[in-house]
Symmetry: C2
Subunit: 359 residues, 2 copies
C-alpha cells in the first residue's frame, strides 16, 4: 500500500496531520541511488565534488533520497560511467562530457574548448543562453540528462622540462595533453600522449614525455609534479573553464516526486559553484607554495606560439562542427555566445583585471 492510499483509507487528510509536523523530517521510505564517477574515490576537488553532490541530495531530502558514491573501477571503469547511467546500472554519474567524444563528438562543447569560454561564461551559456537545451538534445537518445556539477576554472598549461621560446620548441614535443588541446599540439608538430594521472610523475621523470598538463596549482602540488618537471610552469589555453557534469538516468529522475527532482537539480547547481569556489581558494595558496617553497619558474608562451595556438584552436573547433549537423548547431550557438562574451570582457572582467594588476 502506498502512502497516498494509506492516508485516504484512514480518512486522514493532509491538512489534518497537525501543527508542528514540519519540525520532523519526512519519515517515508528511502530511495537509494548509486553514483558512479570517473575519479578515484575522494580525489581532491573532482572526487570530493562528487561526494559533495551525494551528500547534498541526501541532506536536503532529509534522507528520502540517499546517494552512495563509487569511485572509478569500484562499480564500473571510469570510461563506462556514461553507459552505466544510460542503461540504469547507476542512477547518477559524475564525469566530464569530453570523455564521451568517441560516442558523441559534440558532447565536448559541454565540457570545454581551447580558447573558449570561462567558467562564468559557460554558466551564462548553459543556464541562460540556450546551452542546456542543446545538451538535453545531445543526450536524449541515451536516456541521460546532463547538468553542470563543478568547474575547475582556467586550467594551467602545464609542466615543461624546457622553456618554450619559439614555435620550433613545440615541434616534436611529447606532451600529455588529452582532447582538443592535444589535437592543437599535434597540428603544431608535437606529439600528444594520453596517460592517466597516476602515471604522469614517472613518465615525466623517466623522460617518456617532455611535458604534461594536469589541472592547476592545487591538484598539481598534491601530485608533486614540480618534482618531476624541471620547474617551468605555463598558463593554459586548452581548458579555460572545464565543466564537470552530473549524468542522470532520465527514467530514474522522472520517477522522483517534484520536490526531489528540484533537490537533485539544485544540488548539481550548488556543487557547480562550490567546486569553482574551492579551486579559487586553494589554487592561489598552492601557487605561493610552488613558487616560494619549491622554486617553480613561471613562464608565458611567446606571442608567436600563442598566435598559432589560437589559430589552430579555431580550426579544431570548426572541424568538430563539421562532423555532423548536431555539432554544427551547438558550435554556432557556442561561438555566438563566446564572441559576444569576448567583447563584453574587454570592458568588464579583462579591463578590470588589467586595471587592478597594473598597481
Amino acid at each position: 500500500m502506498d502512502r497516498r492510499d494509506f492516508l485516504k483509507k484512514t480518512g486522514m487528510a493532509a491538512a489534518a496531520v497537525g501543527v508542528g509536523a514540519s519540525s520532523v523530517a519526512y519519515a517515508g521510505s528511502t530511495i537509494k541511488w548509486k553514483m558512479v564517477t570517473t575519479w578515484p574515490k575522494n580525489f581532491p576537488g573532482l572526487g570530493t565534488g562528487a561526494n559533495n553532490l551525494a551528500k547534498l541530495i541526501t541532506e536536503m531530502s532529509g534522507g528520502r533520497l540517499k546517494v552512495k558514491v563509487y569511485g572509478a573501477k569500484e562499480l564500473v571503469p571510469a570510461f563506462e560511467v556514461f553507459d552505466a547511467v544510460s542503461r540504469g546500472t547507476a542512477e547518477i554519474g559524475h564525469a566530464s562530457a569530453y570523455y564521451w567524444k568517441g560516442k558523441v563528438p559534440e558532447a565536448q562543447f559541454f565540457s570545454t574548448m581551447p580558447f573558449g569560454m570561462t567558467a562564468n561564461e559557460m554558466n551564462g551559456w548553459i543556464y541562460y543562453g540556450g546551452g542546456q537545451k542543446l545538451w538535453d538534445e545531445t543526450y536524449k537518445p541515451f536516456g541521460v540528462i546532463g547538468r553542470p556539477a563543478g568547474n575547475t576554472g582556467v586550467q594551467m598549461g602545464g609542466w615543461f622540462n624546457k622553456e618554450i621560446n619559439s614555435l620550433a620548441d613545440m615541434k616534436g614535443l611529447k606532451m600529455r595533453i588529452p582532447g582538443l588541446g592535444g589535437e592543437v599540439l599535434k597540428r603544431l608538430g608535437g606529439t600528444p600522449v594520453n596517460l592517466p594521472g597516476g602515471e604522469l610523475f614517472t613518465a615525466l621523470t623517466s623522460g617518456t614525455i617532455d611535458a604534461t598538463e594536469w589541472v592547476g596549482p592545487y591538484n598539481d602540488l598534491a601530485f608533486g609534479l614540480y618534482k618531476a618537471a624541471r620547474y617551468y610552469y605555463y598558463p593554459g589555453f586548452h581548458e579555460p573553464g572545464t565543466i564537470l557534469e552530473a549524468l542522470i538516468n532520465r527514467k530514474a529522475f522522472e520517477s522522483l516526486p517534484k520536490d526531489l527532482q528540484s533537490i537533485v537539480e539544485n544540488a548539481c547547481r550548488v556543487v557547480n559553484q562550490d567546486m569553482m569556489a574551492e579551486y579559487s581558494a586553494r589554487n592561489p595558496g598552492a601557487l605561493e607554495q610552488l613558487v616560494n617553497k619549491h622554486h617553480v619558474q613561471l613562464r608565458a608562451y611567446p606571442n608567436d606560439v600563442l598566435t598559432q595556438l589560437r589559430k589552430l584552436s579555431a580550426d579544431v573547433a570548426a572541424d568538430l562542427a563539421a562532423q555532423n549537423k548536431a555539432a554544427k548547431k551547438i558550435y554556432d550557438s557556442y561561438m555566438a555566445f563566446l564572441d559576444a562574451s569576448k567583447k563584453y570582457s574587454r570592458i568588464s572582467d579583462l579591463a578590470y583585471l588589467n586595471a587592478r594588476d597594473a598597481g
Copy 2:
C-alpha cells in the same frame, strides 16, 4: 497534537509507512516566511533573484516552507530590511551588506571593495577562505545570518557627459556613485551624489549630475541611461563583484528541521551562482545593443586616473579597517586572500583573457 505524537500513538512506525511513500510530496503543515527586499518588486536581476530564492525554497521543500516576497516599501522601506529581519518582522531578507555601513561599517567587506575581489574570488574567500566565519561574527549581535545570494559580476564604471582625459576632468565632477567608490571620487576632488535608481535619468538629463554609475549593460539599457548621458561609457573599478546577501533571522532558521535548514542554505547558493550566470548571459547582448543600435562610445580611464583610483581605493579600505578591531580583522583576511588571488590571476584568468583577446 504534533506529528511525532500522532505517529507514536497510532503505533505507526516510520518504517511502516510503506513502499512508494517517497513518491508523494510531504504533506505536513506549512511554515510561512516573509522575505523583505531592498529592490523594487521584480527588478531585473536583483529583484528577480530574490523571487528565485523564494521559489527555490518553496519548491525544494515541497511546499513545507513557503516564502512570500515583498518589494521595497511593501512591508518595510528598503533600508530597514536589516532591522526587520533582526527583530523578526520578516524571517528573511534580500539586500547587499554595504547598505548597513551606518550600523556596521565592516559589513561592507562582505559586499564589494574598490579594486577588490571578483565574484569567483569572493566565493573562494567566503566559502573556503574564512570569510563566512567573519561574516557570522559580524551579524551575530543582531540575531541575523548573512549568506551570499547573488552577484552582479564586475559593474560598469558608468555614464559620463564628457570624456575623462586626465585627473583634472575628475575634479568637480558631480557623479552618482554610492559607498566606498564615492569616497574615492571625493578624494579625487569630485562630488559623489547619492540618488535612488529611479531619479538617475532625470538628474543626468537636467545636468544635476555629470555622470552616474548603475550596474552594467543589462540594467543600464533597461533604464535607458544611454539616452540621458552623452554616450561615454567606462569600465568600472568600484564594484568588481558585488555580493547580494540573504539575511536570515537566526531564531527562525534554527527552529527549522535540518533538511529545511539545508534547503535554505543551498537555495542561497543556487541563487548566488544563478544571478551571476544571468548577468553573464544578458550583459554581452545588452552591450551589443548599446554600441550598435544606440551608438554608445566605450572609453577607458587614462593611466594616471587609474593609478590614482587604485591608490585612493587602497587608502579608503585601510581607513575602513581603522574604524574598529573587527574591521581590521576582516580587512587582514580579505587583503591576504586578494593578494594571493591577484598573483594567481596573473597566470590564470588574467593571462588567459589577455591571450584569448589578442586574436
